[in-house]
Symmetry: D2
Subunit: 481 residues, 4 copies
């Protein structure tokens, strides 16, 4: 049963109300963030002479002990309405009244904002590290498949020849943008809220700059009225996760399709192919289907967070507490999906023959032919119509385009000669697209280098954020004066 | 570590893949549904002579034992990729190969659809029962507050006088529509999916009609291709919950406002008023804020479910497994909020003076005056303009409307005489609106009776759904031939 | 420039404010609804002796003239803040002060609710009629393709053999549920809001029952406080449209895939196949892609409507005006998509050979074989493992399942004899699934009959709603006493 | 009737299909973007010797003429399936076959991406400029209201005293974050897609770097497969707009409440107060209600865009065309709301007496008193309890806190002396919160300076984006070799 304190509403409060309003089942996940935040706050209060050093040492000892107990799995947190009150109750049980010194110049409003920002910041850093790994994976795979020829699709119809290198480089382009989105989310989270109290600041002589440095935040929040009611960092994280999972979902759809018998472009390794409880012949791409599914979860969580803040008045409203479930879910959702995709890609093998077959049959070189005419001065629309007519003739006669007789072609347009027709091969098509962003292997090599630079940037951004453990270890021994 | 079975993909499958794809952490909540579904399936198979009676008795014994073990909290479900395989593994451990008989003519695709529908149907029934209780609560409160006078608001500006009876009847009107929405969701859920196998049915001589009766479903699903990929019952439940929570959120907003010092219309009892960790003077309406917040969670869950099915091909896709979290969350989300609102309403007390004061000052009788003129033949727009002029004069002179001197009024319009002005009281205003849907106390009494009828209908719909326990008790002893 | 009236806020109001707040650009689409509503209200007021008959005749004449002017495309509606004030201004310009009689006992709050409900009701009826047509189309196509054999898919992998009849029956099952959802939405919309005034009713002796009959609504709204702030009818319509478009989107995904070169199951007729501006060889399924896309628009509109009402206090809030765009978009969005799908289906032709080829190669009869063993008493899991082993052997040897040598099969399980293996054909597979919901052609015939009954119900529900034109024609000559 | 071209699908295409698939009704709004993009492409083609200069001059002349005709409102765009084909048809009508040269090395896939990015970039710039103006407005208002005392709210209960300066600075903090979000969206949009053709690039010797400079894009897109299917720039814009409108909605909720009779904190000027059609006494805050409503529209549009891309395979899919409506709506939605808010704020006047009254009665100085005790060494929880007891005593006796007799206070805690009690005034409370982010007037002055810096940054980011008109004027005379 949840304890009734003056902060929660007093002894008359119904237990059922506390059960409904309590966030402890979720925010006990934030215990470590709460302890680190309290250690930093305590250090600052002590340095500012607001809390006597002797008391501070006692409180710090108990905070450290709580961390250690949790790390060793032997912590029994008291049943309170949230993790902040639970820690306070824990301290009070040991230290008595002077435990109350820790809450000086602090409200749960700025305290919870701190815990959530520490978490959001850490998730951004972890995801950035994982995005870096994924970019490396894609770069390596792009190199490994640089000679693989396969069709690219528009409208799920074969369009033009590309290489495996180009395919993976294209996936990498989405991930490069994800790096940007998570850096944006990180910057929003990297702001210290502590020190604005319940809403308007505090009259005690705190120094927020000290706390900021102790917790390695980039900036201080601007204004308390805003700070306690602000969940933009949660929204930004939710948005970055959503956009990223929409990207992963598109890659996943490709591989669900590619692994179908109809496409047959890839074979799923036994490490990842799933079975059926009724149909013994199945090799199912469940892994990719579930990656695709995760985008729905992300959109749902983002929508939850957006709707939550809609129409609230300024300042703190208890509604905001309901940010916990989606916010805490975002990190694992994104990280697990990123890892699952890498796991999946590591165990798909392309069937080079099936991939190439699609290009031989599919008239995917038609545009190249039209462009070759255009290069010889024919207005593109005219060239387009001529090649279109040739394609239709070939289709009627069941021929592939490169096997069109020169006389048939030249009857349609005099410049459609044998040399042009012969050059209409997948290999030629891919090689001739030399411009930036095109399929030429050297250009793809350039693109791959850009993916690697992105990976490096992602890693740099990630390691610039100190982990909770690092912060804790610093605060454990931070000077108190 | 999750067991690797042929159904999950074979022994080569990576553990990390199973961890990512497993639904067991969530769908172990569906154990009871799974057992009841298996008992019904087994009974049907046995009656159809597909499974020998002796084997059936053994399997049934083990299913019953599993239920009992779970009920007594001593069940250790094997780690498998989902609850269905876990139960199968449990049976196999005891019964060996013949446990496999239970999976005859069944696929996880129709099995999971059954479990989810049993859950969705039960949630609909529980919510209907709770809506019935809420309607009774609102009806009783409407009667209790029938003489309370307060302003109704448009644009959050005082508009016209109403009674407390009318306010609670208005809330009840939303809940009446919720009853309809949950009855609709119930009808969608109340369809037996079992018997369509993986996608196309089964060649074994099952009789779905027998299973339907055993599980008390209203109808059989139409076609397997549709059945295994259909989550409309989840969407319908998600929508009904969302619409309901949007309603509760509006009521909650009223009470957040009403309990502010500015409105002062209600006083929160100590049973529900929450405190602050920093500001000792606070009596906060956290309960109502959190009820309002729950609508965000509902919209998020519904969006999750909608996005999940978007663009999927027909048939079963593993994406659908990701329906678990939102679907399982919907029931508690809605039920807890409904109960919280009833708890909240039970502990708010209206301040009759403060409520009435708003009407005395607020010129809320202006429309009545205009309507009185209209009743005497003045075109409404003309009447409206005349009363508008009178209101402005009163505002300039700091008078309330009923204290306007007759000569001032008659200078504006000759029919604005003393009798009319005197009748412009809140009590008169409320009494004179006699039409259906209006504020007259007798009409409100009629409305309250309609709420009570709605409550009765909700209860009837709820009790018509047998509980899982009832189904289990029937199946425990159901004849096997 | 929008006129400044007392109702809009007076002459001091900034033009820019009116431009921002005006709904006229959108709600001029509701002119016909507004006129019909006004005619009914006027008729009631006159019968109740609230408006003199001579005035009523004059006002009615002008309302009729406005309708006719609009029908002939020569109406110049005055620039007012909304369609209601525009019509009022139009009447006043002709009739002077007595035009104001029409606004007696009515507020824009109940007036706009009426217009929107008339529109929502009509959309429901139109969609129901279109769903009826689609069900007939699907039923006819199911009959036409009853002998077509093709694979059904789970996880986008070939699963089991079905017929074209079963495929279209499966699509029909989704549409049957859409009929239910639109009937639910229709019932919500079919409630007269008029007569509750701004929020609390009116003191004038109106008779809402008269208006209800004139406008053929099924019921009266319960309470004014609720009525003016209620947009559940818009939400219900939005939800029904969304669920329906999610269904159409899944059908569309099938046909995008089926028309790819990889599947090759269907050929798009020249009536619907779209081209490319750069690639002359393309025959793109744009029509199906855009049908799939429409589900996004629907989810967006529904979300818009849900978020709009989130957290609003009770009563009317101007926020609600912003329901116009999504609400007005829902009808065309759904109707156009339904028609587009029918158009698309009319011009796809199945390639029977390609469809069948997938079954020959794909081991889709494995389950049948396992079930045949199960029928002979082998526990299903054992049978499943035996057939799984056989499939793997066949795959290694590049054989199709029905060509497995009996000795190889019997070495795996003695009951896997030649007779069983020979029966493992797509035709046999389809025929043997005789249960309700299965693929047997007679069972599909039964399913098709159910689609036809659903079509009939949809049509009946549609025609039970009188069109706006019918209501207008009745009101044009309705007795005024 | 829409023209049937080879690009649209050929002459057999049904008109109804073209009506359903055409985007012209919406994308004719993108005519100017399309012309500017074509001018840049033409210039590059000519410089690269792909198009002869004489032809280029003829085509440019016609493109310029089309722009001018549109500017003068006399353009009749041909009915084609989209704006790109309409412009091409227009050119062909005048120039014949050589008009087709313009389409060389370009596909509609990269062309439409260019038009949309030009639009998204311009919207970002316009919004940034408007955010700069809003920040200036808020800064100025913060200065003007620096002495106004009013309560800040948590849980919609009076919490602590703040100044008007602090309130507006708090609003500004949200807008500062919006500047960051729009700069992020701008960076995503500021990437040239042109040159990747349909999906894989082009074999013609184009130079994308030339086009990039002509259109002043910051970067080139990385890879064609990604580029043609990428709508992240639309999502990022949608997200930035949504977050911004959620912010504006919270400000709007404050002013809806503040202008109620219950709060009475502000008076709406006649320039913005709206009336009622039925209740002549009303002064409604419709402007603020509609600003709040716009967040729903934004969430709807963002959701639309997210769902649209969900689950699509890589490359271009026609689904993406359905991005038009939400994307085109985002700009006006955001700009109009930002302007409406500035308009609204310009015409609200604070009632200083009513604002202050809330502080006198509300015990909002309790925390200050507890902090004063804490400053004297009392553990905060102890101080909190003591002041809580004092507040309850004052409430029982109907006293305000600063009027508590010293003996009563000291009986509760000996340090609660007269000096402390006297200092518990709103003015003292506000002044004593000197820390960064607090309410002290000098600190607020510092915050206001930060708003002004943000305004300057927003303006700089805005002016760095050349307008479409500027680009056009440069391209009109750009050298062709």
């Amino acid at each position: 049963m949840i304890a009734k304190t003056e902060a929660s509403g007093g002894t008359g409060l119904l237990s059922e109300v506390l059960t409904f309003t309590s966030s402890l089942p979720l925010d006990r996940q934030l215990l470590r963030e709460d302890l680190v935040g309290s250690l930093a706050h305590l250090t600052m209060l002590t340095r500012q002479k607001i809390v006597p050093e002797a008391d501070a040492l006692a409180i710090r000892g108990e905070l450290l002990a709580t961390w250690d107990a949790a790390a060793e799995g032997r912590l029994q947190l008291p049943e309170e309405e949230d993790v902040h009150m639970a820690v306070e109750a824990q301290l009070t049980a040991v230290l008595g009244e002077r435990a109350g010194l820790l809450h000086t110049a602090r409200s749960r409003n700025d305290q919870v904002a701190l815990d959530l920002r520490l978490r959001a910041r850490a998730v951004c850093a972890e995801v950035l590290a994982e995005l870096g790994r994924l970019l490396e994976t894609l770069a390596a795979r792009a190199e490994a498949e640089r000679d693989l020829l396969l069709p690219a699709y528009t409208h799920r119809q074969r369009a033009q020849a590309i290489t495996g290198g180009y395919l993976f480089s294209g996936y990498g382009a989405m991930i490069l943008r994800d790096v940007e989105a998570f850096r944006f989310a990180l910057a929003t989270a990297d702001v210290l809220p502590l020190g604005v109290g319940a809403i308007a600041g505090t009259s005690l002589p705190i120094d927020r700059e000290v706390t900021r440095r102790l917790l390695a935040f980039a900036r201080l929040s601007h204004n308390g009225l805003d700070t306690v009611g602000d969940r933009d960092f949660a929204l930004d994280l939710g948005y970055a996760v959503t956009r990223c999972l929409l990207h992963l979902g598109r890659v996943a759809t490709d591989f669900v399709d590619f692994s179908s018998q109809e496409f047959g472009f890839v074979r799923l390794g036994g490490e990842i192919a799933c079975g059926s409880s009724m149909m013994p012949q199945k090799r199912n791409p469940d892994l990719f289907e579930l990656i695709r599914a995760k985008s729905a979860s992300a959109v749902g969580n983002l929508t939850h967070l957006m709707v939550l803040t809609k129409g609230l008045p300024s300042g703190y409203n208890r509604d905001l507490q309901d940010d916990r479930r989606p916010l805490l879910e975002l990190g694992p959702l994104c990280l697990d999906s990123l890892r699952a995709l890498q796991m999946g890609l590591a165990h798909v093998e392309f069937d080079r023959e099936r991939c190439l077959a699609g290009l031989r049959i599919g008239y995917t070189q038609a545009t190249d032919l039209a462009e070759a005419l255009a290069e010889r001065g024919v207005p593109f629309r005219t060239a387009y119509q001529a090649v279109g007519a040739l394609v239709r003739r070939c289709q009627e006669e069941g021929r592939v385009l490169s096997a069109a007789p020169a006389e048939m072609a030249q009857a349609i347009h005099p410049l459609l000669n044998e040399e042009l027709l012969k050059a209409a091969t997948p290999e030629g098509s891919v090689t001739r697209k030399r411009n930036l962003g095109g399929t030429n292997p050297d250009e793809v090599t350039r693109q791959v280098a850009a993916l690697r630079r992105g990976a490096e940037e992602a890693r740099s951004a990630a390691v610039a954020v100190p982990s909770l453990g690092t912060l804790f270890n610093n605060l454990r021994v931070a000077p108190l004066r």
